[in-house]
């Protein structure tokens, strides 16, 4: 940890990661903190509370990675990024990991030289309209004014959707979700479009949520996932398998409540044992301690617990698991085996 070389402000990030060459894992360990890129604020996914503590679904993943690598879920520096700055922040090494509901697309993976390490939320772009509009399908929105949040894949999907259905529309670009909400509620746009999770979160915060409906059409696939720099495979593995550990933990019934008992000694289920480090040497292969997955799960619980706590049905956001249920429950979450 080499800090405060010249003035306190100049935080030189050690041997900093210039693109592919350096090992991010070693950097993070040497630094003692994980730099995690998040949004500047999205309900349920990442927002600072009154004490400046970050909370949310994406934040919980950052904490899990920090716990896995450093053993301390608090050892995270959250770097808020916008749609414009997020990729530069990651490419330049300012953040080690970007957990900022970013859609996994071909060009981002290939052309922008990033590695998506998996999907932590399966989303899709939808439309929300006031019930009084009397519209039941997005195809009836000919000539409507549609609010969109810029800086995402949303505007491209929207253009494609309306072009495909040969109907016209009036796009109103919006900088933040809060702006979009204000415009939509005041009737400055007929429909509001963004990821369905965002729509649900926005609708939940309305005074009268029942007056608004989310249309059945989902016009795009938005697999949102954390991403790391291309080429640093050791670090990519750590992040990928932290996510898988959270997912697998839910599948195997490992929760933050019973993890103490399960990890105390090797139990009946060999995969649980391998996951929690009571058997085998998976942690060592990753370059981490044996109880890495245990720390990650203890940080905020398994995937299901994180989901329920931040965006699940008992929160104001009230998202159902849907596609994000375990494959055993008809969802898409499917962790490769821990073996």
């Amino acid at each position: 940890m080499k800090k405060s070389v010249f003035f306190g402000a100049l935080t030189v990030a050690g041997v900093a990661a210039g693109a592919a060459a350096a090992g991010t894992l070693d950097d993070v360990k040497a630094r003692g903190t994980l730099n995690c890129g998040v949004t500047t604020g999205l309900v349920g996914f990442a927002a600072p509370d009154a004490n400046g503590e970050w909370e949310g679904f994406d934040v919980a993943f950052c904490r899990a990675v920090a716990a896995a690598v450093l053993g301390d879920p608090k050892a995270v520096e959250f770097v808020p990024t916008t749609g414009k700055t997020r990729f530069t922040a990651l490419a330049s090494g300012e953040v080690d990991l970007l957990a900022r509901n970013t859609t996994w697309t071909f060009s981002r993976d290939v052309d922008l030289k990033f590695d998506f390490i998996g999907v932590n939320y399966y989303d899709g772009q939808g439309f929300m309209i006031p019930k009084s509009l009397g519209v039941s399908s997005a195809k009836e929105l000919d000539g409507a004014t549609v609010c969109i949040q810029t800086g995402t894949t949303t505007e491209l999907n929207l253009a494609d959707f309306f072009r495909k259905n040969n109907i016209s529309y009036e796009p109103v670009p919006i900088e933040t979700n809060a702006e979009g909400q204000a415009q939509y509620l005041a009737g400055a746009c007929d429909a509001y479009t963004t990821d369905a999770s965002g729509l649900a979160a926005t609708r939940a915060s309305f005074e009268n949520p029942a007056d608004h409906v989310v249309l059945p059409e989902i016009v795009s696939k938005e697999p949102l996932g954390p991403l790391v720099r291309h080429g640093d495979n050791e670090w990519g593995d750590v992040v990928r398998w932290t996510l898988n550990a959270l997912i697998a933990a839910e599948e195997m019934g490992v929760t933050s409540a019973n993890i103490g008992d399960l990890s105390a000694s090797a139990g009946d289920n060999p995969e649980v044992n391998r996951l929690l480090g009571t058997e085998g040497s998976l942690g060592e292969m990753l370059g981490l301690s044996a109880d890495w997955a245990k720390s990650a799960i203890m940080a905020g619980g398994n995937y299901g617990e994180v989901f329920e706590k931040n965006i699940g049905e008992n929160t104001p956001i009230g998202l159902s698991r849907g596609l994000n249920a375990q494959w055993t429950d008809g969802g898409l979450l499917y962790s490769p085996p821990f073996r």
């Binding site: 210039g18 592919a20 030289k113 796009p171 109103v172 204000a182 400055a188």
Partner: protein
Amino acid sequence: MTTSTDPSEGTFKLSMLIYDTRYRSITIQIVALIGFLSFFGWLAANTISNLSDLGKEPSFRFLGEQAGYDVNQRLIDYSSQSTHLRAAFVGLLNTLLVAVLGCVTATVIGVFVGVMRLSKNWMIAKLMAVYVETFRNVPVLMWIVLFMAALIESLPAPNKFRGADPEATMKVFDSVAITNRGVYIPEPLFSRSLGDISVGSAFDISLDLIAILAVLFAGLWGARKLRQRADAIQESTGVRPVTWWARLAVVFVPIILLLVALGFHLGYPALKGFNFQGGTYMRNSLIALWLALSLYTAAFIAEIVRAGILAVSQGQSEAAAALGLRGNRIMSLVILPQAMRVIIPPLISQYLNLTKNSSLAIAVGYMDLTGTLMGITLNQTGRELETVLLGMLIYLAISLSISAVMNWYNNRMKLVER
């Protein structure tokens, strides 16, 4: 720095490069040049090595690729299949549009407020002072956001116009619709239009507009000739012929004839489907930005105008009053023309500020150059270096053109004055 010491004859020593004033300036300049070039070389070398690490070669090819996104306000044809270059151009035109609109209204409001602040009416003077101080001391970004919020919250949504007994009605003989999405005003239409001509297949220019402008300029030129002739007659005979009706006729009759020939009529907006259709649509992002920029800049212009007026000596207005001129005419004929000399240079920098501040348009989703080229295009292509540098160059070009034009005007004013 110039000294008249005798140049010492004799051999040149290396130390003379530093201590001899004849050579020192050259030394300093060469050192500065080397420093400058090596600094830039260093930056360029870093950039190239960093970009090759990232696997991105600097290239402007993305400008020719399909943009894929729609822009709501466009002054030229554009669709999501157009190129990024065209999107940037749409943004540039939007920047220029709001800059020109803003400069005009800011000047009008600023001069008005500046004069009113000197009013003898205490209430008016204080009200203007409150306006100036409030707007000057709060960041312009906040004003833009606040105006947008005010427009959205306080104006009726289009569906309030619906039904047998609507909550909101159209204004000015049912021709103007003011909604919280924007203002719809009647648009000029031509039933016997001349059509468009294409310039290099990229831009269509309306022949109607060209015809109208041509006739207008011809009319203005004719009016000017008439005035010069009247001046000449006055010079030689001392009697000025009455020409105002002829000058008006020269300007307006041909225009009216042309408009009739083209079949000019107004297209009124009407509520169809979700929105009003027809008419010219000014989106409230444009209106909010325009209002906020004009009112913010006008507060500064008002102070400039006030200072300019106060700089004209009291004797001038007393002399004008002694000549029997009235208050309004003293202001417009004696004080303001003289104050202009003081006002114009700071006014130029206010125009520049306004144009640069228009780049905050993204806060309200007005798709200007920052919103298209340095916004969505940057996001979609990931070409930070190219888009930001290109954007900066364009803004620089706009700023330099504005200062060039205004400096030319300033010099012209000076010549007239002396």
